[in-house]
Symmetry: C2
Subunit: 156 residues, 2 copies
DNA sequence: TATAGAATTGACGTAAACGTAAAAGGTGCG
DNA sequence: CGCACCTTTTACGTTTACGTCAATTCTATA
């Protein structure tokens, strides 16, 4: 008794021969993954973590543009260094019927903290770069000393 | 028949009442940890990974200045972002009887790669900072719009 | 001797974000 | 009909550098 929710044209998508119909309602996991440069595993993982909620045709996941919007947000969050937990917290507060003030405030709050973290990280990296550069100079110097023939010693 | 290798003066070290005798041959793990700001677990972990090799008095670890030198190197390596594996590879090549040319070359090689990684990381972080800042501006703007009363609409 | 403090080994836990089988079901095409 | 693909769920594995008990032992001191 499983209903066939597959719209006409879906069948073709199976072999990835997707016509350029821009109005695709649903895409399946493979196309979704290709479109956003993630793996199937990633999409399932995000779903498991409650970050995505694709529809189902039987057991097959069907992603809408709503899911695409969410995925974009996830990827942006990931890029700026948020954990998936953070991203979820922020997205969970989204309410299409309200002003989302709370969501925006939380997002801003988390963003400020994340910005501070990023700046601290940059400082640490700069430190590391300096230390490493210094050390490299020393190592090069040691190599030169060990490579150069003795200058004016008895071994000449 | 376990031999007592404890030198006179060691006993006092137990309660951390170490006199200011600068010429301490051995220190135990607690003092070592305190001296370098690491935990006991860390020192044992480093030993387990072959990075340290303290002497033993029975089962008690005794660290010499050689171990201290090695630990300093480990901490420096860690600071500049090397993995413990890398640090070990470099330290394993140390030969007190030779010129250590191979060791120095390997170190330099790894350092160059690490430097490149650090610079790439810094670029990524800068990107993230920019994206995040931009996003924060947008969020602030949305908050303002939702907070401010309607300007000149029918809802006035 | 009782107690407190230091030390030991062993071993499971943690964090993040997936990777990687494994075993199986569905589907269109030739 | 059978192959080639796509998809599913389940679940353990990976990486790094330790954290956190747990059970035990050793030692010195009051």
């Amino acid at each position: 008794m499983t209903m066939k929710l597959v719209s006409p044209g879906e069948a073709a998508a199976n072999t990835n021969d997707i016509p350029a119909e821009a109005g695709e309602e649903f895409v399946r996991i493979g196309e979704m993954a290709k479109k956003y440069g993630v793996t199937l595993r990633t999409l399932r993982f995000y779903e498991d973590k409650g970050l995505l909620n694709p529809h189902r045709d039987g057991s097959t996941r069907l992603y809408t543009r709503r899911d695409k919007a969410r995925l974009k947000l996830i990827l942006l969050g990931r890029k700026v260094g948020f954990s998936l937990r953070d991203v979820k917290q922020m997205m969970d507060l989204y309410d299409p019927t309200g002003t989302n003030t709370k969501q925006l405030r939380l997002t801003l709050d988390k963003s400020e903290k994340q910005l501070a973290r990023l700046q601290k990280q940059r400082a640490l990296i700069d430190d590391a770069i300096n230390e490493l550069s210094t050390s490299m100079t020393a190592v090069r110097q040691m190599l030169v000393e060990r490579t150069a023939p003795p200058q004016a010693s008895a071994a000449g």
